[in-house]
């Protein structure tokens, strides 16, 4: 079964470098999420893997064989597009049969395969309909069936959930996960939604500006980001970043421990004083928005007159998470002390963005 591997993969359009040297490899049967904002190059990467575009440099290997220069139809990769790309002039049945027809699969097997795929996705009752008469969720299932019916070596998903309503999205996500686990086919899942990526991916590849910033399991990305972009992109709220000299230090919102009157930080913890500006009640928790003052009580960002200024990175604005009951103990406008365990403070080099391990802060 396929492993995807890319080596130094590059793509430029004229002067613009869309993909800048990507090295990655999938494990067999895993769902690899490719996560990044728009313009990160994730779509270009995906299209090169699918065979819809040719790289400017580097190599792509499917199943150990280089596929650069080989057209899409010969790669045995199935793809589900963001818009589903259902053929509007064919019925659902004909849509699903289409790849079997194109690959010259023996005609007698068609009905069996289509019925099987339709059964897996629960769309048997839709087979005679036209795509124009399907809901978003139904269209997505048809697109999945069409990809599934080929028994491909790899699936590529291009933001498949973004066109769905929020309610449907949750169930769709679970079903997609289930489907992938059952079929054990390697999956490349491209998205800009970090919740999706973290929830679905066995591993996540975070991209920005054409570069691969970090590739790892969701836990790794969350707790041990190797890159300040990864730190601020993953997690909601994003990791707080504070400037300290030539470095940025990162602390997750939930690692601030409120110090009651008289409490001192434990050994290995550091004190942070935060003046809270706003509190948000979210039901299961509270979020506090504020600014950090250094140990001497000076506030980092200038004060009230800065309230309207656009926030800069590391400028001292933080988000702090409070438990359900804790939130009522604090009030906006006040400053509070928090303790943060040293192991939860991550240091990043301010110029390169890369993580600094060991060494001092």
């Amino acid at each position: 079964m396929a492993t995807l591997q890319t080596r130094g993969l590059k793509r430029h359009y004229g002067k613009i470098l869309a993909v800048d040297g990507i090295d990655l490899a999938t494990a067999e049967g895993e769902l690899l999420a490719v996560l990044g904002p728009s313009g990160s190059g994730k779509s270009t990467l995906m299209r090169m893997v699918a065979g819809l575009e040719q790289p400017s440099g580097g190599d792509i290997l499917l199943d150990g064989r280089s596929v650069v220069g080989i057209p899409a139809r010969k790669r045995n990769v199935a793809m589900v597009f963001q818009s589903y790309a259902l053929y509007p002039h064919m019925s659902v049945f004909e849509n699903i049969v289409f790849p079997l027809r194109s690959y010259r699969v023996p005609k007698e097997t068609w009905k069996g395969k289509v019925d099987w795929a339709a059964g897996v996705l629960g769309i048997e009752h839709l087979l005679q309909r036209r795509p124009g008469r399907l809901s978003g969720g139904e269209s997505q299932r048809v697109a999945l069936a069409r990809a599934l019916v080929r028994d491909p070596e790899m699936f590529i998903f291009d933001e498949p959930l973004s066109a769905l309503d929020a309610q449907v999205r949750h169930t769709a996500r679970a079903e997609l996960r289930d489907l992938q686990k059952r079929t054990q086919v390697t999956c490349l899942y491209v998205t800009h939604d970090q919740v999706e990526a973290m929830g679905l991916g066995d591993r996540v590849a975070v991209m920005k500006d054409g570069q691969l910033r970090q590739l790892g399991a969701p836990r790794e990305l969350y707790f041990e980001p190797e890159d300040d972009f990864v730190a601020s992109f993953i997690g909601n709220p994003p990791m707080n970043l504070l400037a300290r000299g030539d470095a940025l230090i990162g602390i997750r919102a939930e690692h601030f421990r409120l110090l009651q009157d008289g409490d001192e930080p434990d050994v290995g913890e550091h004190r942070f004083r935060v003046r809270l500006d706003q509190l948000e009640f979210l039901g299961s928790e509270w979020l506090g928005y504020g600014r950090v003052a250094d140990a001497g009580g000076e506030e980092e960002a200038g004060g009230e007159e800065d309230a309207g200024r656009k926030r800069a990175r590391g400028d001292g604005h933080v988000v702090v998470r409070f438990g359900q009951d804790r939130g009522s103990e604090v009030a906006p406008g006040q400053a509070y002390d928090f303790a943060v365990p040293g192991r939860h403070i991550k240091t990043f080099d301010r110029s390169t963005g890369r993580r600094r391990h060991a060494g001092t802060r």
């Binding site: 492993t3 591997q5 080596r7 130094g8 040297g21 090295d23 990655l24 490899a25 999938t26 494990a27 067999e28 065979g51 040719q54 580097g58 190599d59 290997l61 150990g64 064989r65 280089s66 596929v67 650069v68 220069g69 080989i70 057209p71 010969k74 045995n76 079997l100 690959y103 010259r104 699969v105 023996p106 097997t109 069996g112 395969k113 099987w116 795929a117 019916v149 080929r150 028994d151 059952r182 079929t183 054990q184 591993r203 691969l212 970090q214 590739l215 790892g216 190797e226």
Partner: protein, 361 residues
């Protein structure tokens, strides 16, 4: 997981060439924790002899598509070059030559003599003037009417289908047959239009334009020109309307709704919203219909024969008369060529405007 039988890859050629292991970019363990598996594959890969990337039929995929593109385009290109491009060059040569009907191969170069001779004929100046008047007049009226009628068709009303069919009659009727039709309608003796005018008191004794019983539509120079404009407008209006309607329907509905909320009435909407949005489309309509009107010879030939006298001569007709009826091939070509620089300049100007407004649209 039970799945469909693997679809046999019948009919598929093997992957073209050998694998290329000589790609730069070592596998970076920090970025690629699955290096273990990849390492095994990498070992397998580097054992293969160096070679070209996978190729299909000796050609890179991108080149194949480009080749296909040119193949699909070439019949059209070749045909146009052969039957428009080459004759065009020949016609230019003709205009600089000494050819006559009696002696059509006489290509002695005479410089601008033909042009000089042709300009000095009074009919030529008349033709030039009239071409301008008829074209400009037709286009001016067309733009207004087409916009008005497209407003009509942009709305729903009872019988719309029927009106759509009837409305196409002027364009569907071949030019020459329509001209014959109008020949009777504008006849100096039997015109049904005059009859209607007589009934309603516009003509006849005591009438508005009386006591004459007839308008001499084709017999008086000024009326004849106006008649030519009217007939041209009549036949081009359906086409112009469709062009403008296409643009009109593309205006997003919420723009109109916003205007209504902002208190704009029918005329204000028309002038401030509809027309500005229609400008690029009007350009298309003008180009299209303008080219058709300028080049038209049939209407003049059948309605007025350039008369009375030479007062309704237009350039294409005069070129025809000079070249074919008069036997002066080179002169005819010279006359016909006259329009070209003007048309070219106008078209380039108009195209530039169209492209600029597209980029801001």
């Amino acid at each position: 997981m039970p799945g469909p039988d693997r679809p046999g890859r019948s009919g598929e050629e093997g992957f073209g060439g050998e694998v290329d292991p000589g790609v730069d970019g070592a596998v970076d363990p920090a970025v690629d924790p699955a290096a273990g598996a990849a390492g095994a594959i990498a070992a397998k890969v580097s054992a293969a002899p160096p070679g070209t990337r996978g190729r299909v039929a000796g050609m890179h995929v991108v080149d194949r598509e480009r080749l296909l593109g040119w193949l699909m385009l070439s019949p059209a290109l070749l045909y146009i070059v052969a039957f428009v491009g080459v004759p065009f060059v020949l016609a230019i040569l003709l205009a600089f030559s000494n050819a006559t009907i009696g002696n059509p191969r006489d290509f002695t170069f005479v410089g601008f003599a033909n042009f000089a001779r042709v300009i000095q004929q009074p009919q030529f100046l008349m033709a030039l003037r009239n071409s301008g008047i008829v074209t400009f007049g037709t286009l001016a009226v067309l733009v207004v009417l087409a916009t008005a009628v497209s407003e009509l068709f942009a709305r729903d009303f009872r019988g719309k289908r029927l009106v759509q069919v009837l409305f196409m009659l002027p364009w569907a009727m071949p030019v020459s047959l329509g001209a014959i039709n109008w020949l009777w309608l504008l006849d100096s003796q039997f015109s049904p239009i005059d009859w209607v005018f007589r009934q309603i008191g516009v003509l006849g004794p005591g009438g508005l334009f009386g006591p004459s019983m007839h308008f001499y539509y084709l017999g008086r120079a000024d009326l004849a020109l106006a008649s030519l404009v009217m007939v041209n407008v009549w036949r081009m209006l359906p086409l112009a309307t469709i062009i403008v309607l296409a643009g009109r329907l593309a205006i997003p509905k919420d723009r109109f709704e916003q205007a209504e909320i902002d208190g704009a009435g029918f005329w204000r909407v028309l002038v401030r919203i509809t027309v500005p949005a229609l400008l690029p489309v009007l350009v298309v309509a003008i180009l299209f219909t303008g080219l058709l009107v300028i080049g038209d010879m049939a209407t003049v030939d059948l309605l007025t024969r350039g008369g009375p006298g030479d007062s309704t001569q237009v350039l294409p007709y005069w070129a025809f008369l000079t070249g074919i009826r008069g036997g002066d091939l080179s002169g005819g070509a010279a006359v016909a060529l006259f329009l070209l620089p003007v048309l070219l300049a106008i078209s380039v100007f108009v195209l530039r405007y169209a492209y600029r407004s597209e980029s801001t649209a």
